[in-house]
């Protein structure tokens, strides 16, 4: 009965501690750690715990191999977890940065992505002329009617064909997207078959260097410049909407119109106007919302995958830690029994074993986070985006992710240390003293 109650209590402590670790903000956890340190330094029980811990830590060099197993096992979990989540974070950030809150993209109702959308020239005109659209110095609406199409080009890395997004843009696009800068060459000339290439697309695909030519549907296009936007537009190739339309036999139709709002609060009025016009069957949303939605499916998939892989690896590492710490407790059985015989209580013994495991775990977590950061921060990768074309993004090992990884490490260390610690405190003193 007492044993059952004690087990129940242990499980409860594990659940509570893990929940606290998962929920509490970093400063509260840090404060708890500081309070704990204060307890060790200032109180009698804490002093005992400190003394036992120091003895425990001093014996680590004698069992370096098994301690390394804890560190590396947990380091592996944290490293893989951070790397996978950094992929999700990087992709999400790349796409979210692409949009802004003051530009609105309008597509055909139900289209979801630009590639699926078709807007007639009349529709595009109607959208541009809305009063909520900002006008430039010449009274022209700040809008770009765009035509997104896809071309298949060989990749530099493996020679296999992959899709690159060609975005036909209006002349006014340069004013609409002021962050897009030409970094080499020049802008395309409206009306000519000229391309400017995003810096990531130029790196990823063969034959997109300035001066090279490209055959699309029997027509020859020339690359005249490279641009940098530092968002997902860098994976695109830009050209004049009208010329792209003729090459792809799209006539005067476009796939979307992007406009800049005249005032931050004008979105609702614009949406109401567009919805109220019987000539229009369109969906409109801020570009921030549009691009964020595009990353949702993939980032959720990677997050689920990363968490599943992390949990399974954590279980493996947990049993490794349990093995090591039970062995450590067994090896120190006599020493612990001696301490108990001298008058040390069970509490300090528990604290010392637990602390030792968590220190090893923390070390492993730091190691894993460091390796993940060194190998994967700003690591570039690409995947097929919602427009059926390659989107280049870089992994981002953010401080939040590293903290999250450390929390996983501490959680594994806590569970992996608690049971051996309780076991150590419960060893009968007489049996322990007789042990070899």
């Amino acid at each position: 009965m007492r044993a059952a109650l004690r087990n129940l209590l242990t499980v409860l402590i594990v659940v509570l501690a893990l929940a606290a670790l998962a929920m509490l903000p970093w400063w509260l956890i840090l404060a708890a750690a500081a309070l704990f340190a204060l307890w060790m330094l200032a109180t009698r029980g804490g002093g005992q715990a400190l003394a036992v811990t120091r003895v425990g830590l001093a014996t680590i060099p004698q069992r370096l191999g098994s301690s390394a197993v804890v560190i590396i096992g947990i380091g592996g979990v944290v490293g893989v977890l951070i790397a996978l989540l950094a992929m999700a974070v990087g992709f999400e950030e790349t796409l979210r940065q692409t949009g802004t809150d003051d530009t609105v993209i309008v597509m055909r109702a139900g289209a979801q992505t630009e590639l699926n959308s078709v807007l007639s020239h009349e529709t595009a005109q109607l959208v541009e002329q809305q009063p909520q659209v900002q006008r430039d110095a010449h009274g022209q609406p700040l809008a770009s009617a765009e035509l997104v199409v896809v071309a298949s080009l060989p990749r530099r890395s493996n020679g296999l064909d992959a899709n690159v997004e060609i975005r036909g843009v209006d002349e006014r696009a340069w004013a609409l997207y002021p962050h897009v800068r030409i970094i080499a060459g020049r802008r395309f000339t409206p009306g000519l078959r000229e391309l400017v290439v995003g810096k990531d697309a130029a790196r990823q695909f063969a034959g997109l260097d300035i001066g090279s030519t490209l055959r699309l549907n029997g027509q020859v296009w020339t690359v005249v410049g490279t641009f940098a936007a530092n968002d997902s537009h860098d994976s695109e190739v830009w050209a004049d909407t009208g010329v792209v339309g003729s090459t792809y036999r799209r006539g005067s139709s476009t796939t979307s119109v992007t406009v800049r709002l005249s005032a931050p609060g004008a979105l609702d009025a614009l949406l109401a106007n567009l919805a109220g016009d019987p000539r229009l069957k369109v969906d409109a949303k801020t570009t921030r919302a549009y691009y964020s939605e595009q990353s949702e499916r993939l980032t959720n998939l990677i997050r689920v995958l990363g968490t599943v892989v992390g949990v399974i690896m954590a279980i493996g590492a947990l049993f490794g830690a349990l093995n090591t710490m039970y062995a450590a407790v067994a090896a120190r059985g006599r020493e612990i029994a001696t301490l108990r015989a001298l008058g040390f209580r069970g509490g300090p013994v528990i604290v010392s074993v637990l602390l030792e495991t968590m220190l090893l775990a923390l070390l492993g977590g730091l190691l894993g986070a460091l390796i993940a950061w060194l190998l994967f921060n700003n690591f570039t990768a690409s995947t097929l985006g919602q427009n059926f074309s390659q989107v280049v993004f870089s992994f981002h090992v953010s401080p939040q992710l590293m903290w999250q990884g450390l929390k996983w490490a501490l959680a594994i260390g806590f569970v992996g240390g608690l049971f051996p610690a309780l076991h150590a405190a419960r060893l009968p003193v007489t049996a322990g003293l007789r042990e070899q």
């Binding site: 893989v80 298949s152 899709n163 493996g316 093995n323």
Partner: protein, 387 residues
């Protein structure tokens, strides 16, 4: 074999340690099973031999661009082509964009180019004869609880109807099965009749997305592909023809280098596993040195001591691996039953099992090697004296 009980006794010497190690091994191989299942789901289409006689013809500019239907008769006339069909991506959404599955409008003879999809003749006929007819793969039908006779409303994302409507209502007339379980992901598609699609869509009428041709002799596939591409050379709709396999390889590689990601994770997992079980084995042998010395004293040769320890390590790994693979099979089965083909997982089959068990033996030999050598080399006198 007659020493099996010795191995067994060694494993049971410290039950907790063996159990914990087994669970670590189990976790590693559970992960191996799951990731290999994902990996082969992506690789299956590319490795399949089912489509060696099929060629895919898409626009050279991009497969999102359509081709004129006038090419059909000209491709049919190319020597070596035995049958041609065509299809177009539809991209419809069922109820919610989250319920993604591929859906295509296909010509009446499209299914006959895919003999690996099995469907009763009556259903094939019904598909040809029902204007709004659709067929789906068995696992897709299971996922949405569809049965023959159901009406399936798809929301168009690309193709609204001429009358401006966005809902295409299809009649489910057939359900096909794929017997090769490695290709099970092909059971996640929906096809519907070309005639309905082409008549009712607002734009693009008379164009097709891609052509599929069957070649009479797969060895001639390259020559036939070149002949097909020559038809449209230097026109405004140049084509690119390749084997279905090559097309799939290029397509899958666009998502991500799945092999690289899976390989990197498995590398990290097995690196830690080797350290972990290696440590356990070293412990196990170290504390048994006197026992091993006694075995040698009663006449066991050094070599049999080596074999005993190695067998112990391999047995530990094999037990854990088998349990992990069984568990991964159960998990994959459960996920597939619940989510259908939305997640790319192929069943944990013989191939994954063989790879897993081979890996277990390999890891067992690696982690057992050092402790086993130590056991083999020990000198009886020193070991018994505790030196």
């Amino acid at each position: 074999m007659k020493y099996l009980h010795l191995v067994w006794a060694a494993l049971l010497r410290r039950k907790a340690r063996t159990l914990f190690t087994l669970l670590s091994v189990l976790a590693a191989f559970l992960l191996f099973g799951l990731l290999d299942s994902v990996h082969s789901a992506f690789g299956a289409a590319a490795q399949s031999v089912a489509g060696v006689d099929r060629l895919v013809t898409v626009s050279k500019v991009s497969f999102t661009l359509s081709l004129p239907k006038s090419l059909l008769a000209r491709i049919q006339a190319v020597p070596g082509v035995s049958e041609v069909s065509y299809a177009n991506w539809f991209g419809g959404v069922y109820q919610d964009p989250k319920n993604f599955f591929p859906n295509e409008a296909v010509a009446a003879n499209f299914l006959s180019l895919y003999p690996e999809w099995q469907m009763p003749e009556a259903q094939r006929r019904a598909f040809r004869e029902t204007r709004t007819g659709a067929v789906v793969g068995a696992s897709l039908a299971r996922q949405f609880h569809w049965k023959i006779g159901d009406k399936i409303p798809l929301q168009a994302t690309i193709f609204p109807q001429k009358d401006g409507g966005n809902t295409w209502t299809l009649d489910l007339v057939g359900i096909y099965h794929v017997s090769d379980r490695r290709l099970a992901s092909q059971e996640g598609l929906l096809f519907f009749n070309w005639d309905y699609f082409d008549e009712a869509r607002q734009f693009g009428n008379g164009n097709v997305g891609w052509y599929i041709s069957r070649v009479a002799d797969p060895k001639q596939a390259d020559r036939v592909a070149q002949a097909i591409d020559a038809l449209s050379f230097d026109s405004d709709h140049e084509t690119k023809t390749q084997s279905e396999q090559a097309f799939n390889v290029a397509f899958v590689s666009q998502f991500a280098d799945i092999g690289l990601i899976v390989g990197a994770i498995m590398g990290a997992v097995f690196f830690t596993l080797v350290l972990l079980t290696g440590n356990t084995m070293a412990h196990a042998v170290r504390e048994r040195i006197p026992e091993l010395a006694i075995l040698k004293t009663v006449g066991f040769s050094s070599r049999s001591v080596l074999a005993l320890v190695l067998t112990e390590a391999v047995a530990l790994l094999l037990l854990g691996a088998a349990a992990g693979l069984v568990l991964s099979g159960l998990v994959v089965g459960a996920v597939r039953a619940k989510l259908g083909t939305a997640v790319p997982l192929s069943p944990v089959g013989l191939e994954i099992w063989l790879q897993g068990l081979a890996l277990a033996v390999l890891v067992g030999l690696i982690v057992g090697a050092l402790p086993a050598l130590r056991g083999m080399r020990l000198r009886i006198v020193d070991a018994l004296a505790g030196r």
